[in-house]
Symmetry: D2
Subunit: 337 residues, 4 copies
């Protein structure tokens, strides 16, 4: 930790900072510069917080030099983590594609889409029974009834299934129906939910919040890891910026940054980032080329009738064609699909 102080800070201001550092059990090194004075703190300062120092008289800024995350850090497991979802490995050689409708609307709908995505090569079926919608007047999902439909489709098709969980009270119930949980972008910092999921050992997709930094995404993962669940797959899904030509701005740079910073697998959701099926293919291909371990793609056989996000859903035939192209890209980057 480096504490920058004003050059006009009094001796007693500096002494109080140094005393506080020592009280925490650390050593302090003082640098006097032309216009500022810097105090270096040596040791694992993660536990002591920077704000206490920031509040002291004469202090201009405090810069931690350690990453705030521990278990989510690449250093914690340099070889990388492979998350096993019912036999499907995310984070290994293979690119794993998770596909399906935004929302579960009926058993017929889910079954129809499931068969198509399975035929095209998807390994896990997505579908939400609980929908976080901006407006209370929009379709809120079928709830547990939807999950029962999902269980039936799982049995009939042999596909693994994943779904979103939104409420701490539902974690156990939802986990009983699916192979993999999903934390939506709006709940990335719903810390009680993260803790509750952390207490299970269910594999979970953690979606990046719309205005969350990469560091905050990793700290959200750290919340779950701290409770014991390390089966986490991070998902870049676009951030909120001033550009409106796409629904969100896919932060493709997050893929190489995350691969460097964390051992957890990283996947990309091109559908929510694009918000328009015309752009989903380009984003999906970019994601695989940039090093993503998988994709989360919305597919609907009748997008005009979709109760949620129809415009960004690929038609089954488009999805099948995209899968072919993704196979070529995967090969070009030394992966399989």
């Amino acid at each position: 930790m480096i504490i920058m102080m004003d050059q006009n800070a009094s001796e007693s201001d500096v002494d109080r900072v140094v005393d506080r550092i020592r009280a925490h059990g650390f050593q302090a090194h003082i640098h006097r510069g032309a216009e500022t004075l810097a105090v270096g703190v040596i040791g694992d300062t993660r536990g002591i917080g920077v704000n206490g120092f920031r509040s002291m008289r004469g202090v201009l800024a405090v810069t931690p030099i350690m990453k705030p995350y521990k278990m989510a850090s690449r250093k914690f497991r340099p070889e990388g983590t492979v998350v096993n979802v019912g036999g499907v490995e995310i984070g290994g050689e293979e690119i794993v594609v998770i596909a399906g409708p935004c929302a579960i609307e009926s058993e017929e709908q889910l079954m129809a889409v499931a068969k198509e995505v399975k035929a095209a090569g998807a390994k896990i079926l997505r579908g939400s029974a609980f929908k976080p919608r901006t407006s209370p007047y929009d379709f809120q999902g079928l709830g547990e009834e939807g999950l029962r439909m999902m269980r039936k489709v799982r049995q009939a098709t042999g596909l693994l299934v994943e779904t979103e969980v939104m409420d701490t009270r539902d974690v156990e119930m939802v986990a009983g129906y699916v192979d993999m949980l999903r934390v939506g972008a709006r709940n990335m910092q719903n810390f009680d939910l993260l803790k509750e999921i952390g207490k299970t050992d269910k594999p979970v997709i953690l979606k990046r919040g719309m205005s969350a930094t990469i560091k905050e995404l990793m700290l959200a993962a750290e919340y779950m890891m701290k409770e014991g669940n390390h089966n986490i797959v991070l998902c870049e899904r676009g951030i909120r910026t001033f550009e409106t030509a796409t629904r969100s701005t896919l932060d493709i740079g997050a893929v190489p940054v995350l691969r460097e910073e964390t051992h957890l697998p990283v996947i990309v959701d091109p559908s929510h980032a694009a918000g328009n099926r015309n752009y989903v293919g380009a984003l999906a291909k970019a994601a695989v080329a940039a090093g993503s371990d998988g994709l989360l793609i919305e597919v609907h056989h009748e997008p005009e009738k979709a109760l949620c996000d129809g415009p960004q859903a690929l038609l089954p035939a488009q999805f099948a064609e995209l899968m072919q192209q993704l196979r070529e890209i995967s090969r070009a980057v030394g992966r399989k699909l």
Copy 2:
């Protein structure tokens, strides 16, 4: 609702759009322009969703011409809403100042700060017992024990009290201790939490999410109103932008926009926006000048020892001085403090 279609859309594409409009029970009017074709839909189209149309062949864009919120809209109650918190009116002539520490740390701390802010003119004491912290290694709050301290301080000082609630499972318990609930920025779109609070009649401060639009803030209020709770105070607290000189960018323009768009009272939190006590006063004065109905300000008697957000907390003497200045500004804009 206006549906823009491509000029090259076929007759059958247009017919399908028109048929769908009629199937919803609305009339369709067709405009042929130089390069586009617009189909106008007449009626209250809020319930039918735009995405179904967006997914149809030949459709370029769909623009709703109605606001998505109903009960939160200014038109719903043009005279404005006054939220009564234990006799203190927010949204009336008076500017209401809510002040106190970020987190409840001990009974002594809360009592010390409470006495100071009361003496300076604050009407409601703030203090969090449940803290949403970015890192799991940071202080997470005292929980229900903190609320018991708050109840004691409430009795001893006669101040009204407010606190944050984060988990659907805690709403009833927390509501039992305080005069006013608070939904934090990170939970603005935690829709299950909103629904749960909506089932109570407790006054609630709804803080704007860091990357939420003004429209989304109003829709979050609509979630609670739909469940029956109309005692909502909206709170602008800064949005996330590229600028880092302040912790967040206070969107001061949200104040006049909200006063035009909604009947709900609007307050401002200058402390979280600034992130630095040097800037809190300027933002607080700007808020009152712009038309805010109140302020939410962090005060700590020993910010160097604060377990959370010390750098942005005003010292009691600074707070008292600011209150004097705010009285002048309030008078200048025809309000009282």
Copy 3:
């Protein structure tokens, strides 16, 4: 400057960094931490650049501890700068209001608006003859003919006048017509233009770029100061964010930050930030309450016929009423208007 190195950096990596520091004539202090190693550089390191170090093997990050600006810094002239524009002082006790139409459209228009804003208390007339428009099909301004009109109106009304200059080739010509130049937001980092204006001694309003940080704004001022022109007034005019309810997001926090960081006067343009006359008054009042030294406000007597930005122009009667309210606010913060 603090150079953070990887804990696994080799001795020779560290030696190369230390050698480079010494080659620049500075001392190096080494701190060994739990996971990182920090090298502190003592001295005025502004000239040496951080990127050279950032490119070295083993280096994780380089943090300058000095501000990059010199002459624009508050320390350079702690008592503050007062810019004198033909006898009107910006940065003194008085709040200076600059008002007028967005674009000069005709002599009649400019004269009509000029008389109104003068009567209401404005000291300087704004009006653009060169217009930076997003589309080439929009009105581009009257050019030098507009400046001749401005000169006539100046003589007839006695108002001081200011206008935008966009092209390095026009600086001298434009400066010959007006009392004050303006650099528009889009040109804040047109460095050749800044240098050219820096060679004159004309007072100049430097508007913040739509995505410029406060630091970059100050460095743009530094470009002009380095050439010799210190008569600079900084202008906050809103930044680009995800929120679209206002045209830009007025960064009201920039006012107290700039007052702390620089000795240059600071004004606010509420018109471009709002983009809607309904919100201009609230933003103008907030600016004065926050400590702004002046305002730049658009007024038009026939906004429906305006060739540019009509929706955000106040009508003369609205402007006169706002000026009354601003006088109250000015008094409340110990200033005059």
Copy 4:
């Protein structure tokens, strides 16, 4: 154009809007909805501006239904444009890689890098003699002397060359030295510069501004096309967002959006977006996978000594390896490199 009016707008308010529409020579169609009244305007309304209507009493919003650009639109040349730079075609089957140092530092430096990038397969050499730097104390480029070095290197290596032009006064001079001009991000809306370049027929790379929308980028191209120069290559180089893990956020979605909206070729600059050589390769591969027609990559043989942007420059060996990987990706998407 659709004009939304308040449902409480008076008959005379509506009449005035309709009269104005007719005065422009267009037809008006009125829709009465549940809460609003919409007036549709039929015809090519691009020339008449929306602000006049926005300023009228009773008008809530005005939505243009035509794209604001004409010549830059895909419809203008549906088959796509191929820009020929001295025999190298950008926008054809081949992916064109432009590479070289950020700044021209010396003839030796430029020659050394040129040979390396040529050997690896780059077709055009980049290098700036005029540098737009945030701080006036940073290296500002060698000016015309740098261009003379570039001419020598061009002759010696046979590589085509490109460079940035910043000042209207320099366009002709700079164009005399190079095969292709570049407009930097900070000058994307320096409209006088765009017009001046538009008067030449030199191929030009137009970089997207840091906070420019895709629509604004296309309108900047339209400025040049209106003056006669259609040899424009658009360049996505990252936008400014809240995320700081990369220097800018590469808007990879801009690639498919631009391919749909415009006939002009699109390239990507992964170096400025990444700001860190570790991430450049992933972004470059993503760009090609997403449909980019080329890349603009910084390479330096001694990045530690670079006078500008060393941390993001690839070493020659890294560049050569990346070119191999890009060849694989190009093949996977049906292109050549």
